[in-house]
Symmetry: C2
Subunit: 521 residues, 2 copies
């Protein structure tokens, strides 16, 4: 209960202003085009879903309510039995319950639901298997929601993702294609080649490595992977300690280790060190050959990466776009094969003058088990996601946001009686394809009206009082010329003449058009 | 608790498939252009807001949790006092609470929050008043959420709105502009003039009428307006009964009446009957003059409508676009001046052969008090909203959805060894500006692969096996020709030659381009 109503957003949520929206929709529009060029189709799913359908696939979360906005649906609905029928009590009444619903935390879990819903009857009838599961390729964009209890600066609880996925194919050509799509989308959005790189690994490489060293328990595997995933943050030494007896972090707090055997850690780390580090793809693949791991899973992973490499090579995708990085883990436990992420190499200088990067802007991989929990049948799937807000932030920080010049013609309002005339001018301009805004506030000073135009970055203002109207004239003011010269006025009279002048009403459209062409970049 | 996981959407929610998405984004894109032409700027706000900030402005709802998805924020936050400071206990500890949050039920309440948040400090300092409140013009689109306990068929609990509003101006020219914007947007979207009409009324007319007849209590006024609002559903007789002793509805249930005095009802109804009915705007305005109501509010309403009419007339907006309808109430109690809605005049034939209309597709009006509850200062505001989903439904039902021909070139996959070649062809086509999709499933039959292409409406498929590859050829299949002729095959051999033929690899691009040009509409 708020005692007082204070108009504000929930912490971690934000408003998107016109300039950021311009950028966001430019990014979405361009990536969308690329996705469509590859045959992905635009689907949309609700923001709200049954909690059980979304599942618990948040990174490192065991419970559905951790990190997810969930609540009870206000509607009572039947509870279902395993055979798909309604659960009933002794009196044969359907048992009702208010089910938990969640705000989607990503776009992949809803995809699994869409796909599963589509093939559900087939799966109940036993007509569906991994091999005949229909191919489904979709892209989707929109907000997702995460309740991060400790919100880091610059992070949000509502943010936009832009996903594309292929469900129904085990072919790692799909994974290769994902890397093409990411690379092409980012370049279309405006990231030059060399300012980003797509990094690929395969879960089977890391899993195979651990199996080769004797780790066969899945929980233990995940625990180790979670620590290897921290390479960027804690380095090889940090990993060494966390696999073993633990370590103190910068704040002095003790982080308990896994307590693994010293010899095992030494061997793992020596291999992991060899594997980490980015080289020519050919050399990276050669390292895998030489590492001395020969189990089936490792070899399968190698074969998949070789296939991906040969496709990339055939299409001329060199290391300035796509590389292998065998230290890449990707947090999500649901990945089962190739994983990929895009690292931005752009730097920016923060308020304290420190040079910083923004890291990962896209991520994805193969998840062959995500549909299984919903329909009991493994259906192969792979895809990736662009972190739209993160990418927009990068474009702003690195100064890559294209300057947008609003070309709206602004019509100031002096005299309420002339409102029909102001509107007619606006309509004439719009009919000619120009944007035009009439200011609604005849009681306000010209200064205030022009302040509004200035705030919106408008190039041209029109002024029309009853005298000018009687003479058949309109006064035109060049707001950008004003802006340009105001710091360096040598001859005020001349400036005035250039920046503000009368034109005949019938010449207005032509004059304004010409001015806009000049101010356009 | 679901015993079994059944992959499904929450009742009242839906997935948007590619075809509906195409339509939705076509509608959004075109309306957006019109909004921008008038100077409205694109803002976005979160889906989730503090319940207190959104308020209880749902039609006919008294409590915040009726009709709105609300739940407790998982985060504890301070409770605020009336002076804006945190509330503290005896030990001077800040009192914390988990505040209620709501999924937005429209885009107007968040607008009021955005605006209020912007001017909040100014308002606290006493620097803000109705006259100097800054002008703010924004458009916004996105999903809104309503928990309708009894969900009508064809209604949804998540649906999209597309709003534009002007905050900070009392000038009813804004309301006139709203009607221009709605009309222009609908015509750009594809509704021909004459298939829709914008209807305008003014709350001050109805309020003035009631005052003239002695009703000064606001609750009573709202009760009467709520019944007058049912004109379309229950007719004049139904209104008469509900104002008086009540009536039985079609199901036989008794609807209690307001129990108003018979003479009062007779007088109200005689005037309401005169006022209802659509004529030339000039004649409508003349009726107001003659109705015999002279109180200040009624006269102010008349003056506003006259101003709106004179603007519309000056711009050439005749009755085929905008009319007056003095029986128009609009449910929302927050409207304080002009109200408007757009009625679609298009009919469609339902499954039972009955001709039906779809009614209201846009609505709006002036709401001068919405910001007041957040900052204590009345700030004039007006705007309107397009019901995106309702409009899309109308376009589909009335057969106005433009046929969309997907122009993606489909590449079938026979031989896994040739995957690099398939990809190269796809890349070559994409580089030339064509869409192209490689099928990922070499193990599947050609029939299955072509079935997928067919489902997606693709025009051309390419077939390439190792023999053709060795000969430097690719087989091209015209899928639309196939479709076109399959019902009417006279010479199978000739059809085959036309529908499927080999081309030299180096002539592939040119051949496909030519085919696509022919299949394009």
């Amino acid at each position: 209960m708020l005692e007082k109503l204070i108009p504000k957003k929930i912490k971690g949520f934000r408003d998107i202003n016109p300039s950021l929206n311009k950028l966001r929709w430019d990014v979405l529009g361009k990536a969308k085009e690329v996705y469509e060029n590859y045959g992905y189709k635009h689907w949309d799913t609700p923001v709200l879903e049954y909690a059980e359908c979304l599942g618990k696939y948040l990174p490192d979360k065991e419970a559905v309510d951790e990190g997810v906005y969930s609540f009870r649906n206000p509607e009572e609905e039947p509870v279902y039995k395993n055979d798909g029928n309604e659960l009933r009590d002794e009196k044969d009444e359907v048992i009702m319950d208010k089910h938990f619903v969640s705000m989607r935390y990503d776009l992949t879990a809803p995809l699994a639901r869409v796909y599963s819903e589509e093939v559900f009857l087939q799966s109940l009838r036993g007509q569906l298997n991994s091999k005949n599961a229909p191919l489904f390729r979709r892209y989707q964009f929109g907000p997702v929601y995460r309740f991060e209890a400790k919100l880091q600066p610059g992070r949000f609880r509502e943010f936009w993702q832009l996903d594309f996925d292929t469900v129904g194919s085990p072919d790692v050509s799909v994974d290769a294609e994902s890397c093409l799509v990411l690379s092409e989308a980012l370049e279309r959005i405006g990231l030059e080649r060399g300012t980003y790189r797509v990094k690929i690994n395969n879960r089977k490489i890391l899993k195979g490595l651990l199996i080769g060293l004797g780790i066969t328990n899945v929980d233990q595997e995940n625990n180790i992977l979670r620590i290897l995933d921290k390479l960027d943050k804690i380095g090889l030494t940090g990993i060494f300690d966390e696999l073993g007896k633990g370590r103190k972090d910068e704040s002095g707090a003790f982080i308990p280790g896994l307590g693994l055997d010293h010899d095992f850690i030494t061997e793992l780390m020596s291999k992991f060190e060899i594997l980490s580090g980015i080289e020519y793809r050919e050399q990276s693949l050669a390292k895998l050959e030489k590492i001395g791991i020969n189990n089936e899973i490792f070899l399968a992973g190698m074969q998949e990466l070789n296939k991906i490499d040969s496709l990339l090579a055939a299409l001329g995708y060199k290391e300035d776009r796509v590389v292998f990085d065998f230290s890449l883990v990707r947090g999500m436990e649901y990945y089962t094969g190739p994983v990929y992420e895009v690292e931005s190499l752009l730097k920016y200088t923060d308020a304290k003058g420190v040079e910083r990067g923004i890291g990962t802007i896209c991520a994805g991989g193969r998840y062959d088990s995500l549909v299984e929990r919903l329909i009991g049948i493994q259906v192969p799937a792979a895809g990736a996601s662009i972190g739209v807000d993160r990418l927009c932030e990068l474009l702003v920080l690195a100064g890559r946001q294209k300057e947008f010049k609003d070309q709206t013609v602004f019509i100031t309002v002096f005299d309420d009686e002339l409102m029909p005339e102001y509107q007619k001018i606006a309509m004439e301009l719009r009919t000619a394809g120009l944007k035009s805004e009439v200011y609604y506030g005849s009681q306000r000073s010209l200064k205030k009206q022009l302040g509004y135009a200035d705030k919106n970055g408008y190039p041209v203002a029109l002024l029309l009082g009853s005298d000018e109207h009687a003479r058949g004239e309109v006064t035109v003011r060049d707001l950008r010329l004003g802006e340009q010269m105001s710091g360096d006025i040598t001859d005020k009279e001349e400036w005035k003449k250039k920046a503000q002048f009368p034109v005949r009403r019938e010449e207005l459209l032509a004059t304004v058009k010409k001015m806009l062409e000049q101010t356009q970049i």
